[in-house]
Symmetry: C2
Subunit: 657 residues, 2 copies
């Protein structure tokens, strides 16, 4: 074991070089900058506001053109001259104070608030961890709740309460609030397995008190037995000490690996953000642009139980709270393999203070035993020619634990030019108590699966919408569908009667590029018609999806109005700096009057423009007993695959022939 | 490097134990048995037949009931008593001799031919490597071909000719034959990159001579430059020496790993066959049956060019030749990781002789850096509870190189009870020559993509049909579809307006269980309604597919008539020992009068029966330049996932709570 640790350390030392972070315009805010922002605000005209809380603090990026210019000039100039070219450093801050939501832009170089705007639209900014914790704690001290517990013979010390976002259901007047749901741990650490059902608690986040309390009925409490899950010790690896085919480096937030270079940022709302991903073309002998920006834009997790305790559970975790805020400190050897390198992240709390999140992101080379390419040729007389290479990829991983669920979020870069975006779902199901202990007793609709005695796990969906600002060899791109169509053979020179061919369509405007994937076969591509391969094909990247899913809710149902875009998996918009969040920025209690559906009503032109591809990955989750008490990871992915982007398989550029 | 090799050897010694093979009724024929079969036939009444060639030699398995009985008694008795329970050992042999195809059953214990039947139906048995080689060599000596070469100024020494199966296109009378297509290597080992187009050559395999020869036109020959691909050296790994979470053993053809045990056979037609896969249930404290048999049943690869050189290319590689016969000797460190164990295979040549194929199958533990399950709980006051485990799986791999294409065929077993069946496509595209060097010159239909100057890669499909004889906790199973249906909320006690629920349907007969997957969401399951979980759910395994594809050819087109089942991805049949090959046993030049489509016309009952699930995985392949000169592996998979099979996630059975 000593020997392998020494070997591992040696390889770590060989493979990785880390230097002090330098300021890239897309770098997340540093703790020093976060402190500066708070100080600037505290010294400003806002200092008189009571109970000022910070709900969103992020770098306010320079314009895309400026960033692109910075990138191209910084890559061609020496590192010493970089500092002189720094773009203005600004932050976007959303605070609540004096009962108002204010959008601020803080200029860090000028040390000034350069914009202060009171937001008066629908919806609220992301919730803070601190107010959610307060809501739980205050509820657990509420006399009405204590009485409910005593009526059920439950010990208060064994209760955990969780605040859940309450959605929007047509109310004309509403206040910021959450619904509180409570669990009885007593004998387990799997709190979700023992829900205390029958109590409705509405907590007002402006008044910071319970405003509605209803103890409606008592339900049996599922047993603690069989609900625990604990790791077995991992010994001593796993790791891949022997992978030396390729190396990677992390300099600040810049990752270079094989032919790839890209910027990785940790963001409180989106989690991992991949920016300015370019790939070196060994034939053209230069880096070529692929993806200006990619990240999760929104999630939508509606539960399929229309009863009082459940109807409102229609979560939009990214917008309501934040995948970055929910990011978990990664466990070495469990969440990431032994060869992983970790990147820390900083979050801003409700008081504007920077909080370190150690190991927010990991980056590792993956060798899963797969084959990148291979062929054996026996057609050359007297020889058997075997060729091939093992596939080594680079994975950038983050895990968001949003209450009960854990989302494993991967960006995987391949030497072939592909980017695979993977999502793994694990964690604990949301469950309700029932008096039934066996299916043969069931007489009414359950809205889910009985996964244990007295325990029903509720049917639900997960939709993850990705923002994919592809810049295939430049900004001017188009979105193309190549449909495969059955054809009859017209000239009957052979007995063959049919075949399929490819009908290509370039989409002109937003409305037509809104696509619900069907079983009709088609390739979806982002192409650059201004740039051709050696034989004249437009260069492009293809979107290869997994099994598609779209929302099955009614169009007029409130959660669906807020996330209307989930009826289609694919949307294309012209790039606009302000259009990042598919359900709008103010997602908490939103009314559906911002976001993808609204922006695209203008039906803007998207041909030969700087376009953004939005893809929604979906899971319909009918729970099963194997999901209890902890889910085996359920995975899905999509791939951005170079398709006539290179003149030929780029792997062969590296191979001496 | 020395140290790591020593470590590796140590771990190999610790992890694997191999004993002398013992005879399991599903074991493939040993070289000794193959020799015995040949001797028995050579001494029989068949000895007078001229030019007797062996086209198929396989174990003729005992009846399933007998095998199951043997399995259950052998697992409960001591190993010494096993020998007394050996089932009769028989072989199925198909020979051609005296112009007739004969089906023989050879009893190895009695040393007798116990069945001799002359087959007079349509189609022919699998082609032999020897006759295909002869066809190529004889064509290259044909004076007409030599003249064609000289007319093109091509050197005969640089030509490679390949025989292609010719399909069936409505001929009433036909003879066994192949079409020969030739390539000019001169300067490359990528023979497919330089097709010599414009020559039609029909080779008669009964007469063993060219019977049709037409030199129709001359096409430009694509250049050799840029067509090569060669491996870079792999140094020194990759491997996973540190994975010690789980061990596996191979005893003869029996593999045990974690809770799984199963039988792996190498078969000339199907390639890898997985049999009698059972999983140990830590709660019930016994092995439970999952999959009696799983293997590739047929492949269908139609090309989408209706012209003279291409229309007939509608390959059924498994039936026409055999995935096992096409299996490649696996390259350690490239095709399988450093920790892989290899299993040899034996093939029978045209003369009835056993041929060793070293490293036909590899078995390895995979750790790809993924997470089997995890959760972080912050809801327990004062604690942050992190749990999880890395995911280690067991992969059984074979690679079939069928001419230009390489199929990487994986069976991956998970500790959660899932089986993932993966297919990777790599190798070289089939291409035709063209006078075009750039897309802007193109004026007519190309039937494919220009991937290099003068080179068009033809559009095509790959359909791989899997035979999946699931026996979920016993023989009596049913096939169930759980459809997700949008519902309006009827009782308006909450403002929620819609949800989805699950409508279950058990299929009664074959005709209704023929399913074309659509975007309508549904779960497909094989359930055992006679066996319930602790809370009364029928135990089951779910089929989770990737992006589905079905054949786009016209129903009345000849290749589609031969593979009519490819219009639907899912079929269910009652188990019948003789129904193994989806397009019928005699696939070469078949007329579509055997196989899945024909068997199911009887519309047999499938409820609570021993049923077989047939799933067809499909790829529509529109080639791109990145596929040239060698394809980066394109992957697809499906999963058989336990769904209410266990009372809870079986991983938690191992975890002390």
């Amino acid at each position: 074991m000593n020997i392998s640790i020494i070997l591992l350390l040696l390889i770590v030392a060989l493979n990785f070089s880390i230097t002090q972070s330098f300021q890239h315009p897309l770098d997340p805010l540093s703790p020093k900058e976060i402190n500066e922002i708070r100080v600037i605000i505290e010294k400003s005209h806002l200092k008189t506001l009571k109970n000022l809380t910070y709900h969103f603090v992020d770098v306010d990026e320079p314009e895309k053109d400026d960033v692109l210019h910075w990138l191209s000039s910084s890559s061609s100039s020496s590192s010493s001259s970089r500092k002189t070219k720094l773009l203005p450093r600004r932050a976007k801050v959303v605070v609540i104070g004096g009962g108002q939501t204010r959008e601020l832009v803080v200029d860090l170089s000028k040390r000034l608030i350069v914009l202060d705007h009171v937001y008066k639209g629908h919806g609220y900014p992301p919730l803070t961890f601190e107010e959610l914790l307060q809501a739980s704690l205050l509820t657990q001290k509420d006399p009405r709740f204590l009485e409910s517990l005593s009526r059920r013979n439950l010990k208060g010390s064994q209760v955990s309460c969780l605040p859940l976002t309450k959605g929007w259901f047509g109310e004309h007047v509403s206040t910021r609030g959450v619904k509180i749901t409570c669990f009885y741990r007593n004998g387990t650490t799997n709190i979700y397995a023992r829900p205390i059902n029958g109590i409705t608690i509405l907590f007002d986040l402006e008044l910071m008190k319970v405003t509605t309390y209803m103890d409606r009925y008592r339900a049996p409490l599922p047993k603690a037995k069989g609900t625990e899950f604990h790791s077995r010790p991992v010994q001593p690896g796993p790791s891949y000490p022997n992978i030396t085919n390729s190396k990677f480096s992390i300099q600040g937030n810049l990752v270079t690996w094989g032919d790839w270079k890209f910027h990785v940022a940790f963001n409180s709302r989106a989690g991992t953000i991949i920016s300015a991903a370019s790939i070196f073309d060994g034939k053209e002998n230069k880096y070529r642009r692929v993806l200006y920006r990619g990240h999760v834009s929104e999630t939508f997790v509606p539960y399929m139980d229309s009863t009082e305790d459940w109807y409102y559970r229609t979560f939009m975790d990214v917008g309501e709270f934040g995948f970055g805020k929910a990011a978990d400190s990664l466990q070495p050897l469990v969440d990431c393999p032994g060869n992983a390198r970790f990147m820390d992240g900083y979050l801003v709390d409700a008081f504007g203070m920077p909080n370190l999140l150690p190991r927010a992101i990991c980056v590792f080379q993956r060798y899963s035993g797969d084959v990148a390419w291979r062929h054996t040729e026996i057609g050359v007389p007297g020889r058997v020619i075997r060729n091939g290479e093992p596939e080594v990829t680079l994975v950038v991983r983050m895990i968001a634990t949003v209450g009960n669920y854990d989302y494993i979020l991967d960006w995987e870069f391949r030497q072939t030019g592909s980017i695979t975006v993977g999502v793994g779902l694990t964690g604990v199901l949301e469950m309700k108590a029932t008096s039934y202990t066996s299916m043969d007793q069931v007489t009414e609709e359950m809205y889910g699966t009985m996964v244990a005695p007295n325990t029903i796990a509720i049917n639900h969906d997960h939709f993850l919408t990705y923002y994919l600002d592809l810049d295939v060899d430049g900004n001017e791109n188009s979105f193309m569908r190549s449909s495969l169509q059955s054809e009859r053979v017209r000239r009957m020179s052979t007995p063959r009667k049919s075949y399929w061919n490819v009908k290509k369509k370039i989409f002109k405007r937003e409305a037509e590029a809104r696509i619900r994937l069907s079983s009709k076969p088609a390739q979806l591509m982002v192409v650059n018609s201004n740039k051709k391969t050696n034989v004249g094909n437009p260069v492009g990247y293809q979107l290869i999806t997994g099994q598609p899913a779209y929302s099955l809710l009614a169009d007029d149902d409130y959660p669906q109005i807020r996330t209307a875009y989930t009826k289609y998996q694919v949307w294309v918009t012209p790039y606009s700096k302000s259009e990042r969040w598919a359900a709008g920025f103010y997602a908490d209690q939103s009314h559906g009057d911002d976001g993808l559906t609204v922006w695209t009503r203008r039906n803007r032109k998207i041909e030969n423009k700087d376009i953004v591809l939005w893809y929604t990955m979906g899971f319909h989750h009918v729970p099963c007993q194997e999901d209890f008490p902890i889910m085996a990871t359920l995975r899905s992915s999509f791939e951005l695959r170079p398709t006539n982007f290179f003149d030929q398989n780029p792997i062969t550029y590296k191979v001496k022939s």
